[in-house]
Symmetry: C2
DNA sequence: CTGTGACCTGTCAGCAGTGGAAGGTAGGGT
DNA sequence: ACCCTACCTTCCACTGCTGACAGGTCACAG
């Protein structure tokens, strides 16, 4: 139920339409909290009903510019100071597969893990490029906080790559 | 939709009741693919309907011992050889919060991240204890594959701890 | 002035997952 | 003989999320 807070957060220092927010999700928040179109529009109307947002202006083609209200700011602040609890129990179909990996031949198992190595490496490259592309200046929110999150992604993919490589070598230890 | 495959996997070399499977989820698979009671029982009947499982025996108090069928084995194997696709876009309310961390005071932000450091450290300790408790022998599935997954958890929590520590120091750089 | 594509919003069916209620049986301890 | 606990299953209401469909308007190019 954090979609609402993501939206509130994006509207703190700017007003935007559902369409714009959608784009923002695709770019900045995609790796942290993806959301579909239906979800965003639905949540926006709900937030407006609850008084956490208000329609600041009506644009050209039915466009609605949403702005955060005082109540919305309060709610956001309150959420930020709340304990996230155990970060949603991570469900990973990849790790689930690893759990049953001995049902395959060692060759197949190694192939699977090496595939994961490559996947992680690709992800890592993508993030590196992203970092280099917008590093300097650009005060558009991605400065302070965005960099922290980006760094997390980098470290995560690095760790995954190393782990998968290690795991692959565990399977067929002494291949002379 | 991988719950079915988790169940099939658990039934590969043993037969079990829904109740037992539930316990297995709580212990071994909890960190990789948690499941609730309603889900397990529901999926089991569905799997039996589809012929991937069969009721091998009826126990004392309505207990049903499920066994995997040939069709079930085939399905499981097929799934294992399938590309997992991009591992479910990870939704993290913690990272979402980090994204909006500059709405708090630097002190509050640092406190938040330091809390994450501690959380990760706790998790790490828990996993370490788990590893030490069942390392030797014990061929109960946790030998080969389980160790790989456990190692993933250890590396993940280590990474999270280091990252949160680093991030906390990013916020108030020169505290003389 | 026509079409193509970007902009912009809304709704609905369906599924996976959560949480909890309800109901019942067997076995062990006192 | 009794109760308590562990065992064991089924059902349901609710939420978050997905994917797709449906509908409309502005802007610009040819």
């Amino acid at each position: 139920m954090s979609l609402r807070h993501a939206l509130l957060g994006l509207l703190v220092d700017r007003t935007a339409s559902g369409y714009e927010l959608l784009k923002l999700f695709e770019t900045s928040l995609a790796n942290v909290w993806p959301a579909t179109q239906s979800q965003v529009y639905g949540e926006l109307t709900r937030l407006a009903d609850n008084g956490l947002l208000e329609v600041a202006a009506q644009g050209p083609r039915g466009r609605k510019d949403y702005a955060i209200t005082e109540a919305g700011r309060a709610e956001l602040l309150h959420w930020l100071l709340t304990d996230p609890g155990p970060d949603s129990p991570r469900r990973s179909s990849t790790l689930l597969r690893v759990f049953f990996l001995d049902l395959l031949t060692p060759e197949q198992g190694r192939a699977f893990l090496e595939h994961q190595v490559r996947r992680a490496a690709t992800q890592r490259d993508k993030l590196k490029k992203l970092r280099n592309s917008l590093d300097w200046r650009e005060s558009g929110m991605l400065t302070a906080n965005g960099r922290l999150v980006l760094e997390y992604g980098l470290r995560l993919s690095a760790m995954q790559q190393e782990w998968a490589d290690w795991a692959a070598r565990q399977i067929t230890p002494g291949t002379t």
